[in-house]
């Protein structure tokens, strides 16, 4: 019943010329999404990847278990000294992420260009 979460990584460059890894998610983010969220993130080499964007543009449903996976990603990124920004959340999930405090560790932006400009 729960749809799979798809994820992929794109490598792009910020306007300031810095390399940026973009994790693009698609589908639901729930308890079954561990491999798609944490597994995909963990393929990034922590020694060299310092800027990460999370793209939620194609995500329709995120529940508290999915938010917990995002927090686990932020824990690992914080420990690795990586900067994480997120974009593409609906107005509702922007509100939910703000309510649980995620904005303190991952800035939220409406789209990729706004997130890139904030790096």
């Amino acid at each position: 019943m729960q749809t799979d979460t798809k994820s992929k990584i794109d490598q792009i460059t910020s306007p300031a010329g810095e390399p940026v890894s973009v994790l693009r998610f698609e589908g639901d983010i729930a308890s079954t999404s561990k491999d798609a969220v944490l597994g995909t993130y963990q393929t990034l080499p922590k020694a060299t990847v310092k800027n990460i964007l999370l793209d939620f543009t194609k995500v329709d449903y995120i529940n508290s278990s999915g938010i917990a996976l995002v927090i686990q990603l932020l824990i690992e990124a914080s420990n690795a000294g990586q900067k994480v920004l997120a974009y593409g959340l609906s107005a509702h999930f922007t509100k939910v992420f703000t309510m649980v405090g995620i904005t303190k560790y991952a800035g939220l932006f409406p789209d990729q260009s706004a997130a890139l400009a904030a790096l």
Binding site: M1, Q2, A30, S31, T32, Y61, N63, S64, S65, I67, A68, L69, I71, Q72, L74, I75, S78, S90, A91, H92, V96, M99, V100, G101, I102, K104, Y105
Partner: protein
Amino acid sequence: MSGKSTSVEVRLPSRLGYEKVAMSTAASVAKLMGFREDRIEDLKTAIAEACINAIEHGNKLNEGLQVGVLMNAGEDALEIKVIDDGSGIKARPHKPDIDKKIHGEEDPRGMGMFLIQALVDEAEWVAGSNGKSSYVRLVVRLDPPTQ
């Protein structure tokens, strides 16, 4: 709630993912009642979290047990009860501490009850008198009509 009301009931298997059936049904009822789109989104997340708690903690993922979702659409509010066969949740909702979570001092999970309470007008958790049939009761109120 006052005046005439309409009831809708959904029964879900205790399988994660089926909370979306309750979400879409509640959204349809709320839309018929005239709720704003942002309130419907709040309701969808609250009912999803209530159903997930019932499936995981109340019925302990036992697919032989069902989760009951009773919706009572009144003139000025929508009341929803999500019923499971557990003994009830004793913990009270607490606001997640993101700093503690990031520093490993608090479980990254455990935000469901907080979200429920934050997104609806009323939320109460009631333990069944016989140690079963516990429920969470949610109420979302329609905005008063503008003059």
